[in-house]
Amino acid sequence: MFVERWFYDFLIYLYALSLLMSFSDLLYPNVRSRRLSMGLLIAVWIIQSTSFIVGLFSFWTITSPLDARFIFSWTLVTFTLVMHGWYRRIDLLIFCANVMGFVILVFHVFTISNMSYESAQMLLTELGFVHISLSILSYAAFSLSSICSSLYLLNNYLLKKKKWNRLLRRLPSLDRLQVFSRNLLLVGIPLFFIAMLLGFMWIYQLMGYLFWNDLKILFSIFVFLFYGFILTQWVRNRWHVRRIAWWNSLAILTIFLNMFVSGLPVSFHYWF
């Protein structure tokens, strides 16, 4: 337990230092801070991935709050590293995504609750594993999509107000943010849909029709419909991009709400 604690503390310090460097680079552009921040982020990713792989081949299952949020944070770091490799001038987007990843990591490290072995065994099925993995991936895609939309609104506001400042200079272009947020929705929605279907099948095997009593299931359907509605508007091409961006930015609240519901006693989704 002590070693585990030390490990997570070390990870948080590294992640915090990376964010600090990234923030300093945003305020006072400096190639050294940028490189250091990226180096530290890669170190965080390597440590997270190692822990992930080691866990996968030993006793690890995605069945505790610790694991699920840990992987959510890892997914965000992975996404940002991939985006950084592909695109330039998206420092602010990477920073925002990492703030979220960091908050999730900190939150779950300080709220570790140990699940009983029996409970873990109950959830340890292939169906459960795929359901939870896909849910985490879709949540990460939704979160990043919402961040992109928020940055779109910020960029749009600064351009409309004709405020040529350092913040505007660091923002990605409007069309890039628009494409990112739409594509992330396009990835997230099918993943989430499959995750929900698998989840229904899995929990039906375990509990029968009783699973409808779980608020989390209703909320998940709500999240799906909300994001589905946004994507529909995008495809139908009737709303202005700015309006869609507002909806997509607010949609992140449904994810937070969904996470909150998981913690309620009425939910059996205590792993997330």
């Binding site: 552009p29 400096n30 190639v31 050294r32 695109y87 960029n155 351009l159 409309k160 004709k162 040529w164 400042n165 505007l168 200079r169 923002l171 990605p172 272009s173 409007l174 069309d175 890039r176 628009q178 091409n237 202005h240 991009v241 700015r242």
Partner: protein, 449 residues
């Protein structure tokens, strides 16, 4: 040793004079060899750009060095010194070093923070190095300067933002479009400024250009330069539907692009529409800026961006000046310790000569020594020499950067009796320099070896 820079730039001389002092790349090697062969000059680098001509030299005497550098300019360009004397600036030692650092950082340029000069100085240094025109001092100084220049451009924003109105429009466009490829530029009016702005977008990757003008012939003429399409002004609505960036610069007295003209073109549009109005009186009704996905910037807005960028550059320059001061100090410290090097070399040579003599005597007195025993003896006698010399060398290096430097060096020479070794070295250097002498023929210089 002294460092000297003699030159003229956009601040001291008009272009009519500057163009007469331009070194072409093909004659630069010859010019460097000629400069190096001048009396008192030991190292030289010539920086020649459209905005400056500077000659950096290392000389043994300041006044002689300055005199011969000016004489070189006079003879090379065949211009009497009276004609350019007043436009020249001369900076010596620390000031010259400081000046070079300002130049490579872009602080002495016409547009503060420009990056081109760094490449030009680097190229000038490499040319001189290839011609063996540089030695210990300039090899170190120019390498330090180039490193500083690179640091300035990577760690500050001094050269990153647009300082012209037309380029500011491109920079602003990058906040709307990640790439200009496959974007359509609509040029309304065939004015010079509009065309220049379109040219910047074209250079940044825009591929399709539509030119609209009252007279179709003029539109066709401009469109041909961008391999674009020419349309008459009546086809504005149709052109707007295709456009991503509109640059307007007509001579119209009233706005030609209003909300009612624009709105049909915006139907089902998903990407931003960037309108640049550089006409006075304005061509585009300011009210269109209120429309979703439409961004209108007029000439004042763009000038505001340029001003903001210039003040940012100025702010960054203050940071760079502090770095330059530190770098100048660092170079001065290195330069001061450099004077010790010949003394240390002389001392080491003398000590090793003594060691070699001793070894020879031992070998004469003990002829039965095996090769292995000789090697062991040689190694240990060398070790004694090195151990004895270590502390004096460290101390003299420390003393060389203090105010009593000259006295300390003098005392060092006297204590270790190094006068003879130093004299020998000087004679060797003088002989090497005399090997190649220059002969002035009709103002130009030919070399004889």
């Amino acid at each position: 040793m002294h460092i000297l820079v003699v030159g003229l730039n956009h601040k001291t001389a008009k272009v009519e004079l500057r163009e007469r002092f331009a070194f072409s790349p093909s004659e630069l090697p010859m010019a460097l060899r000629t400069l190096r062969d001048m009396k008192s000059i030991m190292e030289g680098v010539i920086v020649s750009t459209c905005n400056r001509m500077e000659i950096y030299v290392v000389c043994d005497q300041l006044h002689t060095g300055e005199y011969y550098t000016k004489a070189f300019l006079e003879s090379w360009f065949r211009i009497p010194i009276e004609e350019f004397q007043d436009h020249l600036y001369v900076k010596q030692n620390q000031q010259a070093v400081n000046h070079l650092f300002h130049v490579v950082a872009g602080l002495d340029s016409l547009v503060i923070g420009e990056t081109q000069i760094l490449g030009q100085v680097r190229s000038a240094f490499l040319t001189s190095q290839a011609e063996k025109g540089t030695g210990t001092i300039f090899n170190s100084l120019f390498k330090q300067a180039i490193t500083l220049g690179k640091r300035v451009h990577t760690e500050t924003e001094i050269g990153q933002n647009a300082v012209s109105v037309s380029y500011a429009a491109v920079e602003l466009g990058k906040k709307m479009f990640s790439s200009f490829r496959n974007k359509t530029i609509l040029l309304v009016g065939a004015g010079e400024m509009g065309e220049l702005t379109a040219k910047h977008f074209f250079a940044a990757g825009a591929t399709d250009v539509i030119v609209l003008n009252r007279t179709l012939e003029k539109a066709q003429e401009v469109a041909a330069r961008f391999h674009g399409t020419a349309l008459s002004l009546e086809q504005l609505g149709e052109a707007l539907r295709k456009a991503d960036i509109v640059v307007s610069s007509t001579g119209a007295k009233k706005p030609i692009l209003t909300k009612s003209v624009l709105q049909p073109a915006l139907r089902h549009r998903r990407s931003p529409l960037f309108l640049i109005d550089i006409a006075v009186p304005r061509d585009i009704d300011p009210a269109v800026h209120e429309l979703d996905d439409v961004f209108l910037y007029d000439i004042d807005d763009l000038q505001g961006i340029v001003d903001a960028n210039l003040s940012l550059r100025q702010h960054e320059a203050e940071k760079v000046v502090a770095w330059i001061e530190k770098e100048t100090e660092r170079f001065q410290q290195w330069l001061q310790t450099l004077g010790v090097v010949p003394l240390i070399t002389a001392l080491r040579n003398k000590a090793l000569a003594v060691q070699e003599e001793t070894m020879a005597r031992i070998e004469r007195k003990l002829p039965d020594l095996t090769e292995k025993e000789k090697r062991v003896l040689r190694k240990h006698t060398k070790s004694i020499v090195n151990q004895l010399l270590r502390d004096p060398i460290v101390r003299i290096k420390e003393l060389a950067s203090t105010s009593t430097r000259d006295e300390a060096l003098e005392l060092f020479v006297q204590i270790f009796a190094l006068e003879e070794q130093l004299r020998e070295k000087e004679t060797q250097q003088a002989l090497a320099k005399e090997k190649s002498t220059s002969v002035l023929v009709d103002g130009k210089v030919s070399l004889s070896t």
